[in-house]
Amino acid sequence: MTVRETLSSAFVIGRRDFNATVFSKTFLMFLLGPLLPLLFGFVFGGIGARAEKNETPPTVAVISSPADFALLDKARTRFLPLEEGRPLVTLKSVAPEPDVPAQRDRLLGAEEEKLLGVLDGGLTAPHFTGAVNADGRTVKQIGLFVDEAQRLANGAPDSRGPPVKISLTDQSGGSLASAREITARAGQFLIFFLTVFLAGMLLSQLIEEKSNKVIEVLAAAVPVDSIFIGKLFAMLAMSLVGIAVWLTAGAIGAALFLDQGLGSLPPPAVGWPVFIALGFIYFTTNYLLIGAVFLGIGSQASTVREVQTLSMPVTMAQVLLFGFAVLGVGQPSSAEAIGAAIFPLSSAYAMIARAAEEPLIWTHISALAWQILWVMLILRISASLFRRSVLKSGPAFRWPWQRKAAL
């Protein structure tokens, strides 16, 4: 059996499943179901909009003489008309201590202050230290404030003092890195939420064929691998149809009720377009990984009752995987984060968080290759277990609980 034949057989199986699901009356209920809570959300809330208003604007501490700070604050005030929705960086005056570098480090490490960065050196040797992109909004604004303050100090329209020296750190109390955790968690949660709701269906995928005996017709005509691949991708396709419908409805809702949707979330390290694309890709691989496991587990069940009993423990297992991946958020280089990225079943969760926190792209390419490899492995193992324990092919195989007690 060549790969092409296996895949074309899988397509035949998948097409049947997809049509049987999508062109059924119950599919409409499936599509409408998730929209109800969304609708309630909009009716009772504008929750997102309100949360945004409560948010404190990003703050930069300025270690300088009161005179320099007054000039900087004046400069900032001149730019205030440009604010429009997204607040300008707020400046906070801090009196210099004898050991300025130590003071700077202390300020950056202070969690409760939520400082984005520290500006020291006054107007003569301005130095910004913080954890933001060099081309980020904060740095540009600080540059403008300093330019304007220097111009005000010299009283000459064209005079410019030394430019702001910029030192980027990995972390600070209110740094973007820690703000990105929100984006990371949001991405993880969305994938988790969708997978929990959608992958559970794969548990019962083979029950139909087993109970109406079609499995014999299928197994005689195509490899069991094809049956598994076809079923998995049919359910993925069905899920994507659902998600497309919900996203469209969600986007219309957001356009109607919210000023800014994604604007209220800190931008991810890889940028929004790549992050959203990766979100889709990681949902897909996560669905395939977890779905393949579910398909394998479900194929061993012989009755609908068994599948129903299994659905709770497997959901809990998913929560556990999600929890494992959540551990690593905020510390992309920690053992937890790397472990969760390597362990195949939590890899997609860990990697979407990483996309929010780190700008590297190659890690995603290798993670995707790794995840796809595991999808194939899990499918093969599931199919071979199915052949052996359900179709009773090859040397005798039984699950431990199917073995007769030795007593």
Binding site: S8, R16, I215, V217, A220, A221, V222, P223
Partner: protein, 312 residues
């Protein structure tokens, strides 16, 4: 070998738990023949067929289907009607037939067109568009049978195809099997009803207790038995009795025995010369049933006559 035989099996063994379902089956199905696998329930017919088709692998031994060691590689040229029939209940008849064709590599559009033609050709045009669940069991079985042949397979494997069909549909099925064979296909079917095998098959394998007790032409199976003589005489006793074999069974003045080696002439002469007074005499060619009894044994034969639960 592959050109002459559509399917072969060599010493296939299959064990389920503690039971040996198939204990060393060897078969050779000549290309273009109608081949019966005959045996009582539980003899290992279905397991043999499932191994031949590659649904399951034998524990030991090998098989080849249309010359391929891996049966699934020949899947596009094979049609299979399992003993336990099964279709998706929500599918319309023509869709179910087209789907079964698609599983065997037939493009779905072509399958649909052929399905409609097949249904019309059997006067079943009004089934088009009807979901399987609205059909009776026998009707659904007909749909599945059409799905089995829609891709015009070279080899058709039917597991207990006659069970669950009424006499009219059994006759139609026999007709279909003959037509497929006439068109060049090889047909393998299993049955526990000897009459079907006797009417249809050129060759049979008699399976009993997981083993092939006989594999060959039906005539050859019959040929293993001598013709049976039924004799009724007026005389109770006489010298003519010497011409009858010692194991002849007698009830009153009726005798039943195998025709002796010498043939009918010496027997007749002895009866006439000895004054037996022949009232009736018949020499019957043994049926496949007798051959089956002789080959598989009385126990297996009794099992064949047991009532059978009809497969779903």
């Amino acid at each position: 070998m592959s050109a002459n035989y559509a399917a072969t099996a060599t010493d296939m063994i299959k064990t389920f738990g503690d039971t040996m379902a198939v204990a060393g089956v060897s078969l050779a199905v000549p290309t273009g023949s109608i081949y019966g696998i005959l045996g009582p329930n539980g003899a290992g017919k279905t397991t043999t067929i499932r191994m031949l088709l590659g649904i399951i692998d034998p524990d030991k031994g090998s098989r080849a289907l249309l010359g391929r060691e891996r049966p699934l590689e020949a899947a596009h040229e094979v049609g299979y009607l399992p003993e336990e029939r099964g279709l998706y209940p929500a599918m319309a008849c023509e869709e179910a037939i087209a789907f079964m064709g698609a599983l065997r590599g037939l493009p779905i559009k072509e399958g649909r067109a052929r399905a409609i033609a097949l249904l019309h050709g059997r006067g079943l045009g009004d089934w088009i568009g009807k979901p399987i669940r609205t059909l009776s069991k026998g009707m659904a079985q007909t749909v599945q049978l059409l799905g089995t042949i829609v891709h015009e397979p070279k080899l058709i494997v039917l597991d207990e195809p006659f069970s669950g069909l009424d006499a009219i549909n059994q006759a139609k099925l026999e007709e279909l099997i003959r037509a497929e064979a006439a068109a060049g296909a090889t047909v393998i079917f299993s049955t526990h009803v000897i009459a079907h095998a006797e009417r249809l098959c050129e060759r049979v394998a008699i399976i009993a207790a997981g083993k092939v007790a006989f594999d060959g032409a039906v005539d050859e199976a019959r040929g293993r038995l001598r013709p049976i003589v039924h004799l009724r005489t007026r005389a109770e006793d006489g010298p003519w009795r010497a011409a009858l074999p010692s194991d002849a069974r007698r009830s009153g003045r009726e005798w039943k025995f195998e025709l002796p080696e010498g043939g009918p002439e010496p027997l007749l002469r002895a009866l006439l010369d000895g004054g037996a007074g022949i009232e009736t005499l018949s020499i019957e060619r043994p049926g496949l049933h007798d051959a089956f009894v002789a080959i598989a044994g009385e126990a297996a034969a009794r099992k064949m006559d047991e009532p059978v639960e009809v497969a779903a």
